[in-house]
């Protein structure tokens, strides 16, 4: 059984792939960034929504492809992310593996190393975050570890580029580990029986056999391709009879044995000095989730966000872009140019008229929305990189429980405040289908994106604080109520709230710049064409006089039920394309003094809850299918009008002064 390998070194060849694996939050992306520089592509792993980042690296004058995989805690996959990482390891051509480990959490890392060793794949251990381990009094005897595992180990501090050359050097001398775990009887004898039935594969048969014993469902496909039905049946019988000898599931029994081995390795290589953990990071971290201090902490962050996004982004920057840049230079110049160059009035109107592509679409997308979304993404990046987001999940877990969700849902919800469409994409971090559906519904229903929020807050600020509170209260209450009902109506179940809280860290400016740039690029590519499309749509409606007809048609609802001027219809029509666009239309009306305070609140509540914008709708179709998307839109549209109508009636009946 213990066929110790001769440790043979496998030199790295030009063009080969280097795969980074490791637990979540160990610094894989940071290492990836150091190795690759700027040639990065992000793509979905085939057949999944899991994103894989690839980049090219020039090391020692040779070219490699580097792949960053999703974080895993075990190579017995429990989630789609973990399965993708495992599949990449199984696939034939991923020869070179670097396992990144958080040095202060060696135990969790070694659980994965043992499995890599079992697969007999050559790999290198990168003990990253060496600085944090040292400051906590943890020292690792890397020589001893190398000796035990039989693979190379290097220590790095990715954020300070420390140890990078050693890492690059180590890459060219990868070895397969010589360590083999003894699982004891009766597992070993069952394993021997299974291994005999398995074909030769890229990873060791012993590792495959253990995955099968552990009941890894995701290997079913592989089994049916590579084995006869009779052999599969035999394997299943072996698994069943072995399982009967344990009261716990075999997957757990196997993990437990591995952890016992890890613990015995740890006792030989780790020396931990008892140190009081009292860096500013841990103290702040404790405050940020404290049942009492956590709340002022949260409010302070909200206030800073408001100052930066609401005041600086939506105020200063928008003013500059809209009034100075576009108002004084771009638009007048464009108008002059178009009028001089193109004699056709139709085209003139199309480009620079009231509903012109330049004067309306471009101005709006670049001058108003861009600064708001951009500043929001900066804040979101800060929250992400500092490690505050999971703490926000801790603080909000209770509220989300009411809606059949857990604290993890806070991530897509907060991102939804930046862009709902992008947020729909991130719902895949939620574990159950039911949770994903509920969050997508709530995003589409009531979470205003930053562009819309900016316009809305600007408008409400012009009325009164009371109006602002009334609007927020109504929207939040509707979200919670709908979530509560959806949790009870939709089939399926929620998932466990088990969330790692990485230490609070000083955000890395370079990380934030890269992430914000990627998000802004995505936003411009996705949103600007839609602005153009929406404007075009309006332009033609107006050109053919249809806008008037629709206004008349919709007036019973708009002026009757909602008590708004018929001119507001235009705003709602564009609201079909983008809600923020619709809100901007209302803003224009309010500026002209055509809306009283109650009308402002009613129209804003309605447009906030209004149908998801086209991009969001398409994203829902992509993630959940046309039927689900149509059902959601079909519920949200009348529901928004209903809530608006009820609010209008209630406010007038109670004669509320705003």
């Amino acid at each position: 059984m213990h066929n110790h390998h001769k440790a043979k070194e496998v030199p790295l060849k030009e063009g080969e792939r280097v795969v980074l694996v490791g637990n979540p939050n160990v610094g894989k992306s940071a290492i990836f960034g150091l190795l690759t520089g700027s040639y990065v592509t992000v793509s979905n792993y085939p057949g999944t929504t899991v994103e894989i980042t690839r980049g090219a690296a020039h090391l020692n004058k040779k070219r490699y492809q580097v792949i960053d995989t999703p974080g895993v805690n075990n190579l017995l996959p429990l989630s789609e992310d973990e399965r993708v990482t495992r599949d990449i390891l199984l696939s034939e051509d991923s020869h070179r593996i670097v396992q990144v480990i958080d040095s202060k959490n060696l135990r969790r890392g070694l659980l994965i190393s043992l499995q890599l060793a079992e697969m007999e794949l050559p790999f290198l251990l990168d003990l990253n975050m060496e600085d944090e381990a040292r400051s906590r009094g943890i020292t690792i005897d890397t020589d001893r570890l190398t000796q035990i595992l039989g693979v190379g180990t290097v220590s790095t501090v990715a954020t300070r580029r420390k140890g990078l050359d050693r890492l690059v050097g180590g890459l060219s001398q990868l070895r397969a580990s010589s360590l083999r775990i003894d699982y004891g009887e009766p597992i070993e004898s069952s394993l021997r029986q299974v291994v005999e039935l398995l074909p030769q594969a890229y990873i060791s048969r012993r590792a495959l056999g253990l995955m099968l014993l552990a009941g890894d469902e995701s290997l079913k496909g592989w089994l049916h391709q590579n084995l006869s039905a009779a052999a599969i049946e035999k394997i299943e019988a072996i698994c069943l009879s072995l399982q009967e000898k344990f009261s716990h599931p075999l997957s757990y029994v196997i993990t437990e044995i591995r952890l016992r081995w890890v613990d015995s390795i740890l006792s030989q290589v780790v020396a931990a000095e008892k140190m009081e953990r009292s860096s500013w990071g841990t103290t702040l971290g404790q405050w940020s989730t404290h049942p009492i201090w956590g709340i002022p902490f949260l409010l302070a962050i909200l206030y800073l966000t408001y100052r930066f996004v609401g005041v600086f982004g939506a105020g200063t920057l928008v003013n500059f872009f809209e009034q100075t840049l576009f108002g004084r230079y771009v638009n007048p110049a464009a108008i002059r140019l178009v009028k001089a160059a193109i004699p056709l009035p139709f085209l003139q109107e199309l480009l620079v008229g009231d509903y012109g592509l330049i004067t309306m679409a471009l101005t709006y997308a670049i001058a108003i929305v861009f600064p708001i979304v951009g500043t929001f993404f900066v804040i979101f990046g800060l929250m992400e990189d500092s490690g505050y987001l999971p703490r926000l999940a801790v603080m909000s877990n209770r509220v989300f429980k009411v809606m059949g969700l857990n604290g993890k849902a806070v991530l897509p919800m907060v991102l939804g405040l930046g862009c709902d469409t992008m947020a729909v994409l991130t719902t895949r971090i939620l574990e159950s289908n039911k949770e994903r559906l509920i969050v997508i519904l709530l995003l589409a229903l009531g979470v205003p994106c930053s562009a819309q929020l900016g316009v809305i807050l600007g408008m409400l600020g012009g009325v009164s604080l009371k109006a602002t509170i009334l609007w927020s209260f109504t929207v939040v209450a509707v979200i919670i109520a709908v979530g509560f009902l959806a949790a009870r109506v939709l089939p399926g179940k929620g998932s466990d709230f088990i969330l790692e809280l990485p230490p609070l860290r000083l955000p890395q400016i370079s990380n934030i710049v890269i992430k914000t740039a990627a998000r802004i690029e995505w936003y411009l590519k996705e949103a600007v064409p839609l602005f153009a499309l929406g404007t075009l749509f309006l332009f033609f409606l107006n050109w053919f006089g249809l806008l008037k007809a629709i206004e008349e048609l919709a007036s019973p609802v708009i002026s009757g039920l909602l008590g708004l001027p018929t001119k507001a219809t235009g705003a709602f029509i564009v609201g079909f394309l983008r809600r923020d666009y619709g809100a901007a239309g209302l803003y224009a009306l309010a500026k002209q003094g055509q809306l009283d305070p109650i009308q402002v609140v009613v129209s804003l509540v309605t447009i906030t809850l209004f149908v998801p914008c086209i991009a969001n709708f398409f994203m829902i179709v992509k993630e959940k299918g046309l039927k689900v998307a149509l059902a959601m839109a079909g519920f949200i549209f009348p529901f928004a009008i209903l809530v608006g109508g009820m609010l209008n009636w209630l406010l007038r009946w109670m004669q509320v002064q705003l």
């Binding site: 997957s251 049942p291 909000s396 877990n397």
Partner: protein
């Protein structure tokens, strides 16, 4: 244990619970229900009551009908039984054993209702006082059974009120800032066990509880983690 004693224990248990509930018991309910054997049953109860008296476990049986609504144990409105101090003590013990067993089965083994009942009924006759004391300590000297009925306390529980802490407690009951070594985990479903073990949470691991509100936050090694209370309840630790 003789069959006779077994029957006697059942009878005492019924007397106790009926009194607790202020309930009138019909004769059939005391032993097994069954119309045909009514006569035999009546005979059985009579003998049982006789036995109780013989052994000085009961002091009084009123032969005359007692008015409805008076708490006590009555057989077909004919008799009322009151227990002697010795009978009282013995009934208490049986109830205590039964309810502790119920709690053990529900909380730790997570058996369903029917299994819990039959298990508890068998257990109550088997456990020695020493074992019962351990179970009580292990469970942290609980005051109520899973049905919310009081568990009669014994010496061990009174001692506890002064200083002793339960041997093994749920993670959610661990004092804040203290460390505990995981003894076992009783998850509601397998996937949860797999996830916890992947994060290093297995028996033997040492964890520390940092806060309970608004979510449970624990640390294992240098990893901090947030958990639902539901999961923290399923992890049993021994204070390190």
């Amino acid at each position: 244990m003789s069959y006779e004693l077994y029957e006697l224990d059942e009878l005492l248990e019924h007397i106790w619970t009926a009194r607790e509930d202020g309930q009138v018991l019909l004769q059939e309910e005391i032993l097994a229900p069954g119309g045909e054997e009514a006569a035999a049953l009546e005979e059985g109860v009579r003998q049982g009551l006789l036995l109780l008296r013989e052994r000085d476990l009961s002091v009084r049986e009123a032969a005359t009908p007692v008015p409805d609504g008076v708490p006590g144990f009555r057989v077909e409105g004919l008799m009322e039984v009151a227990l002697s101090p010795e009978g009282e003590r013995r009934a208490r013990d049986i109830i205590r054993r039964h309810r502790l067993a119920e709690l053990l089965f529900t909380e730790i083994f997570e058996l369903d209702e029917a299994q819990v009942e039959s298990g508890a009924c068998n257990f109550e006759h088997l456990l020695s006082p020493k074992v019962i004391e351990s179970v009580c300590t292990f469970l942290g000297h609980p005051r109520r059974c899973p049905h919310g009925k009081p568990i009669p306390p014994d010496e061990c529980c009174n001692r506890f009120q002064v200083d002793i802490q339960p041997l093994v407690m749920r993670l959610c009951d661990l004092p804040l800032g203290e460390e505990g070594r995981i003894v076992f985990i009783t998850p509601k479903h397998h996937a949860r066990l797999d996830r916890l073990s992947a994060l290093g949470l297995i028996p033997g691991s040492v964890i520390r509880l940092h806060q309970r509100q608004p979510s449970y936050v624990i640390s294992i090694g240098e990893t901090d983690m947030a958990l639902d209370k539901e999961i923290a309840r399923e992890i049993y630790v021994r204070k390190a």
